[in-house]
Structure formats: structure tokens, C-alpha cells
Symmetry: C2
Subunit: 496 residues, 2 copies
């Protein structure tokens, strides 16, 4: 029989983080990625400057005209007025110019074409004087050569591309993207696109993790599936440590028979943490191999995503000189009681709906294997290890996984599920971009109750009343739902 471990007791979240980052600091003085030169072009968007960028040229590079009209010498115009127009001889006293033209030598101001009267081929007349340097862009007005254009650790935007090129900078040093080797392991794994036999599991976590890595500014490097053999996994990790900046092994971090990962980290480098007191995500492994940060990421997709968010995201941010962007948080009323395991920080995915002007959060299925719960989630709430749960109708802080605007524009359906509801939702977002259907499946009575509590805009219901033999209507009457909101009608607070 293969060796079995009972789970290590998890390390509290903050302690795990500290151990990891302090451990890394001992091995690696500087976590920051070095700079690499790239052309100033759209490929540089969202890259991070590795050093301050200074202007090479002034902009404008010469005094230039800011308007279409005439260039003139301002002292010639003093005293011009409606009653006393001033005539300027073209050539000597005035020269036609267009916006962007260099200001002709000896001239110091521009008068707009709209302000010229009585133009002849030989002269123009004006009825108000020109201030010195009026409608002139002087040298360096926008950018002075040597001045700072972008500071270090700045994420490059479209505006910045324009400014860099205007400042004569055609190449910029940006932090190299951390290469993250993602190694899926498990004999049961098969490639996506293959029909799974009993016992097969489609390997999709690598793209989930790789997608997060890419969203966070790293470069995912996908490895082939490695079989459950310590030798094969050791070889993969050693090879990855030679080419990547971060090593991620996915699965093999539970205490199951496939658990070779932590032994490999111990033998190749140093193990800082095995098991974190979080749910989901407990079987996370944190360590270092050949001076490279090492992650053992749990096999369940929800655990994997959370483990990445809690440990990999802060590391990537540190390496890129960025601050982790806090998720937007809103307050919502909890629709159903949540019981939580004491001693573990628990992260509960929720749907959030805005109904009758208030936000209502409904907990989603908590199985860590349900990838669709991540797709459906609007946010999550965090229940600290010291808590045993949260009462129904409590106010909770929801960390959003979507824009608040999207949530505000969602029609909330709670009740019995039907594929037609899915189609209706897709039609809605298809026809009205930004709108969506947020659908939670809790059965017909759950829908009735949600309507009654004012937590849903619509409810799918199919309930037979045994006394009358009639469907639905008796229930609607019995629970006084018509008093709260029209049923069976697509109702939204937003203009459709």
C-alpha cells in the first residue's frame, strides 16, 4: 500500500505569507525583475517601467504657431482697436502661418485668422493688439529635454506612448515579465479535447492558473502533464527552475497518494509552508527551489484560484514593482446563514444582486471542485478563523470579482432552474450589452421565498397545488408575492 499522510495542520494565512516572503528574502536579495529594452509602441502597453524615463528632446523643439492665422511682431500691434484698426504689410510685418508651423524668426506672436479683417494680397488689418507670445507654443512648453516623463514602476498607457515618442524616446526599459512554469501532474489527467473515460480528469487548471498569471503581468509557460512519479516530477521541477522565474506544480499537493511535491521541494530546496489554514486552498505548498519561488497549488480549481490570489499575485506584484490592487468592496445583506469551520479563514463565493435598491449576497455552492461557481460568482466574503459563521440578514463585506456596474445591471433570478432561463440571459446580454441575468438555482419554493424577501427580480416556479390541481398561482397568492413584485414578468430596475 502507498504511503498516506494525514493533512498537516494548516498554518494561519498571515503567518504563511510572512514565512514565504521572509524565506524568499533570505535566498533572493532582490525580488524585482530586471529591465529589458522594448520599442515604444502598442506592444509596450501595460508593461512596467524598470527605471525612470527622461526626455531626450524638447517638445515643441522650436517656437511654433498654435493657431492658423498670421505671425507678427507684437509691438507693431499696440493700440489696434475697432475704431483704429492697424494694418500690417504681409511679408515684413505679418506672415501667414498654419497651426504647427515654426514661428518665423523675428516674430513673437500669432493672430488667429478669425481676427483678421480687410485682407488683401498685400496686407491684413486687425482690431485688437497681440500679446507677446500669444498663440505661440514656445520651445519645451510641453516637454523639456532631460525632464522626467515617467517614473519607475509605472504601468504604460496609451497616453504615455505618445509622450515618450514626443520626448524622443523610442525604446524603454521595462521589467521583464516573470516566467511562470506551470507543471500539471497526475496520472488521471488528460488533455482538453479528449473525451474522458471513467477515471480521467480533463486538465484545465493550467489554463486557469496561466490565465491569472497573464492577467497579473506574468508570462505563463505551460508544461506537459507529468505522471505521478517522483522521478518524473523531480526532473520537471529541476528543468523548470533553470528556465523559469517561478515554479508552479498543480495538484500533487493534497495528502493523497500522489503527494510527492513537498518531498521534492525539501530535497531540492527549502519548504516554508505545507498546508495553510484557509478554505478552500488548504493544501498549498510554498517554498524555494534553486533560488526560484516554488508553489504547490491544490488540484481543485477553486482552491487553485484562491491559492494563486493569496500567494502568487502578491509575489508577481512584488517582482513587477506593483502594489496589489485591492478588490472593490461593497456591503450587502446576506440572504442565507453561513456556517463556517473555526480555525480556518474561509472564503465564500457569493452571487450579489441589487434588488429594490439594496445589495443581497447569496452564498454559492462551496465545493472547491466547482469551477462554474467561480464563473458565476460576483464576489466573495471572508470569514475569519475566529468565527463560526454569519447569521442570515447580517450585513457582510463582499469583495467583488466583477465591476459593481455589472452587478447593478443584472436581473436577479432565484428559483427553479430551466435551460430556457440561460438562453433568456444570453439573449439579454446579447441584445443589451452590459445587462446580464444573474441566476441562482434553489428550487421553486426557494424562489417564492426569495421573492417574498425582496431578493429577486424574477423567480422560476413550477409548483402543483394538490388541493386545486392548479399550478403556481395558488402559491403566488398564498405567499402574497403579488404585493411585493410582479411575478413571471421580466422585471428590472434598469432601463432596457
Amino acid at each position: 500500500m502507498k504511503k498516506r499522510n494525514v493533512y498537516l495542520k494548516g498554518v494561519p494565512l498571515q503567518e504563511a505569507r510572512d514565512k514565504f516572503f521572509e524565506g524568499l528574502a533570505v535566498f533572493r536579495e532582490e525580488l524585482r525583475m530586471e529591465g529589458e529594452p522594448i520599442p515604444v509602441d502598442v506592444g509596450a502597453l501595460s508593461r512596467i517601467t524598470a527605471e525612470p524615463v527622461f526626455a531626450k528632446l524638447s517638445q515643441p523643439a522650436y517656437h511654433s504657431c498654435a493657431m492658423d492665422g498670421i505671425a507678427t511682431r507684437s509691438h507693431l500691434t499696440f493700440g489696434a482697436s475697432e475704431t483704429n484698426p492697424r494694418r500690417l504689410r504681409l511679408g515684413e510685418e505679418a506672415v501667414y502661418v498654419d497651426t504647427g508651423d515654426p514661428l518665423p524668426r523675428g516674430f513673437d506672436s500669432v493672430i488667429m485668422v478669425e481676427d483678421l479683417i480687410e485682407t488683401t494680397p498685400l496686407e491684413v488689418a486687425i482690431i485688437s493688439p497681440a500679446r507677446p507670445w500669444q498663440h505661440v507654443r514656445t520651445v519645451g512648453e510641453d516637454i523639456v529635454a532631460t525632464e522626467l516623463v515617467l517614473p519607475e514602476n509605472h504601468k504604460i498607457r496609451a497616453f504615455d506612448l505618445g509622450a515618450l515618442l514626443a520626448a524622443g524616446v523610442t525604446q524603454v526599459m521595462v521589467r521583464r515579465k516573470p516566467k511562470v512554469a506551470i507543471i500539471p501532474t497526475g496520472d488521471e489527467l488528460i488533455l482538453p479535447g479528449t473525451t474522458p473515460e471513467v477515471g480521467d480528469i480533463t486538465e484545465f487548471n493550467s489554463r486557469l492558473i496561466g490565465g491569472l498569471v497573464q492577467e497579473w503581468g506574468g508570462e505563463p509557460i505551460f508544461w506537459d502533464i507529468v505522471p505521478d512519479e517522483p522521478q518524473a516530477l523531480t526532473e520537471a521541477v529541476v528543468k523548470a527552475s533553470l528556465s523559469a522565474d517561478i515554479i508552479v506544480v498543480n495538484a500533487g499537493s493534497s495528502a493523497g497518494s500522489e503527494d510527492y511535491t513537498s518531498d521534492i521541494v525539501k530535497s531540492l530546496g527549502e519548504l516554508f509552508v505545507h498546508g495553510v489554514a484557509i478554505k478552500p486552498g488548504k493544501p498549498t505548498i510554498l517554498g524555494i527551489v534553486d533560488n526560484k519561488p516554488f508553489f504547490g497549488i491544490p488540484g481543485y480549481p477553486v482552491s487553485a484560484a484562491l491559492s494563486c490570489e493569496l500567494f502568487l499575485l502578491p509575489l508577481l506584484a512584488k517582482m513587477l514593482g506593483q502594489k496589489v490592487k485591492e478588490r472593490t468592496t461593497i456591503n450587502a445583506t446576506l440572504a442565507r446563514r453561513i456556517v463556517s469551520v473555526p480555525g480556518m479563514d474561509e472564503f465564500i463565493r457569493v452571487k450579489v444582486g441589487k434588488v429594490g435598491g439594496r445589495y443581497v449576497a447569496s452564498p454559492l455552492a462551496r465545493g472547491a471542485g466547482a469551477i462554474m461557481s467561480l464563473v458565476r460568482a460576483d464576489g466573495y466574503i471572508e470569514i475569519p478563523g475566529s468565527s463560526q459563521g454569519i447569521q442570515e440578514s447580517s450585513e457582510v463585506a463582499v469583495h467583488l470579482l466583477r465591476d459593481a456596474e455589472e452587478i447593478d445591471n443584472a436581473v436577479v433570478a432565484i428559483g427553479s432552474h430551466d435551460l430556457a432561463l440561460d438562453l433568456l440571459g444570453s439573449l439579454l446580454s446579447g441584445k443589451y450589452p452590459g445587462m446580464s441575468l444573474s441566476s441562482t438555482h434553489v428550487g421553486s419554493m426557494g424562489g417564492i421565498m426569495a421573492m417574498r424577501r425582496g431578493e429577486a427580480h424574477i423567480a422560476g416556479v413550477h409548483l402543483l397545488d394538490e388541493e386545486t390541481g392548479e399550478y403556481n398561482v395558488p402559491y403566488v397568492k398564498r405567499y402574497s408575492i403579488l404585493k411585493t413584485m410582479p411575478l413571471s414578468i421580466l422585471y428590472t430596475e434598469n432601463k432596457v
Copy 2:
């Protein structure tokens, strides 16, 4: 002499928008981009689904074990307790399983390895009964084949990649990115990297516009600089209309000598709008050429950026089935009076600082030629055409161009400028990611006044007191600044 136009009177913003989109609708029944198939991989991130996506496979595809332990038949475990442990024979009554293993045929529940006592090679004992389907992931628990995974017009995230692959979907139909041909025109334009002679202007707008297009989900196609000749520009526009989905001509839209653009649109297609009552951005041209939306974008970078945001962004969003994301808006106190031109909607770039717990907005230089004003801006305020301006200390709504978090973490310097301040700012963001120096240059006395009004954390000052021959200190005393805040000390409200 070349032909000269006085500017057309601008069309009000909303009217310009309506004319443009109604005009397009007449020519093009469906603005939405068609779908194209792409592999479900990290390359699909941020792409938009062109149709609803349904699951091809159920997940799990078979009943599977959700824990490491034993699979058993629940009815055999009824009555097990601490005083009356139940023994299960391995093989017939219990089988060791790992997380993810298929549930062996004929078994209906899993007992965790932690709950097993007295294990021998032949049997295990348990002290509590197993519920049917306990710790079992049933077929389709996560995803049922045929169910909706993603609706139409959904922007694909990392989570979604995982869900699609789990659902057996390896290829997804996404909206083709609109190809935006960007045609710079002007005899004065030179390529970036060339040192400008007097009269030359570095062509950087194409990358500014192209960067915005890419940020908004389009694909910029860069054209070579076209000389100021109607024939050359006509050829470029015709050629672009054959390959691109949107045509953008940059510059040539002012009423200067180079103004051929609107004539070309008239001759090749239809001109909807020439000149919009906005500042900056007035010389915007909107039309259609060969069934393709056409934009004449002003030559000044700030005008170009605003014109893109007001017209090109909504068009791209419509073509991609997206809603334009509203910019975050905060309320701030206006530091200085703004005078505005009546009859035009004016967009004023501002720096925003958080000092003493309140947001203060300082207007930036308004020249439309200053690309650095876009780089430095934290947001903009909109002054409607009906207004002549805004009084100092008024509360204004600022539409943010940065995250509010960045603004909260900025040290506000107002006063005399010095390159050392730039370096200090870069050191700050270099050492403390997320922190920055927000620097406004208004001279020493401006800095003293800003400190006095509580609008700055630090002020650069070099002022000679002629009476005493002493620098700075007499001014600090005279204006009682020490009572408000320590000067010359890098002060921040945030933990560094």
C-alpha cells in the same frame, strides 16, 4: 495662396453623437463584429464571446470521490458510533480511494481517511455513519452537458478558460477585433527617432490613438505618413476602406491649408459632422466611407485623445457588444477658478491630491498640444457649454484617469519645480510601489499659498527675503505655514 476656411461652427456633442450613430445605422444594418473561432487558451483572455457557449461534457463526467479515504455503501454504516464502531471489510465493503478517483461501482459514499480507526490490511473501523452521497461529487455537479457556460458578449477571464475546458469546449467564437486603420497625414511629420529640424513634427499621435484602440479591444493598423496631397490621402483612405473596419485620419482636420480630409469624405462617402462644440477636440470629422465608419481626428494630442474617447470608444464598444465602462467619479474641491468658453463643452484636465482627508483638484495647462498634461492628469472635469466657468473652492465632479487608490497614495507637491523633485518622485514609486509624487509647478509663492490652503503635502520654495537677505524661512513664518504643516519634510498621510 492656398484656400483657407474659417472653422465651421461646431455641432453640440450629443447632436454630433446622434448624427454619427444614426448615420452609421442607415448605411450599416449591424455594427456588431462577426465571430471568429479561437482556441480556449490564454490568448482568448479579454476577448468577447460572439454567441452563447454551451457545455459539451458534464463535469465531473462520472461520480467521483471528493476526499481521500474509503468508498463504502452507506447502508452498511448505519448505527456506527463511538461505543459501537462498525468494521468494514476492505474489498467488499470498503475500498481505499483518493480525491478525484471514480466512485467504485455499487458504492455511494466516501468516508475521510481522518475518520478511520483501527485500520488493518483487511478491514477498517468507523465510529459514525456515512450519509448517502457523502463526499461524492456526482455526475454534472459542476457542469451539466448542454448548460450555458458563458452568455453572449461576455469578456473572457481566467476563470472562464478553466470552465470552458472543463465543459469540453476547446474552441470558442469571439467577436473579431475591429481593425482600425490609422493614417497620419502631414508634410511636417517625421518618424519617431529622427531628430527634428525646425518645421518638423514627430509623428507620435498614431501610437497614442493606436494604444487607445488596443486598450479598448480593437486592433490598430498603422499606416505610413501620407503627404499633404488630396490624391495621396484619397488613395490611402480608399485602400484602408478595403481592409479595415474603421478608418482614422489624423490631422488634416483643422481648417488649415492641410484640410482636405472633409472633402475626401464627401467625395468618397458621406460626411455627418465636421466640427464639434467641444474643447479640445473641435476639429473632429465623422462620416462613412465605403460602409466603414470614418474619423478625422484632430492633430493636437489632447484633442485627439478626447475625440477618440467621445466617439471612437463608444463605436468600438458597440461593435464588440460591450457597454462603455463609466469612469470612476469623485468629488473634489477646485483649487483655482476656471474660466470657460460658453457654447462649447469644455474638458479640463486636473491633478487631484488627497490632502488632509479631502480631494483637491488643480487644473492643468489647457493647451491641447501638451501631451504631458495627459500623462500628468489624474482626471478631468466637464464644463457644459451653458457655463462660463467654475469658481475657486467649488465642489466639482472629477472623472478619474487613474485608480482612486493611486491618488490616495500620492504625495502632493505644489510650488517651484526642480528636476530633483522628479527624481525624488521616481525614487518614491521605485521603492514603494503604488506610491507616487504628484507634482504641480506654480512657482514658489504658489506653493506657499497651496500649503496655506492645505492643498499640498510639500512645497518647493526658493524665495529671497530682501529685507533680511534670508531665503525661505521669513516667508514660512509670514504665511504661518508651520501652523498648518511641516515644510520641507516629505510628509505623507500614508504609511511609507
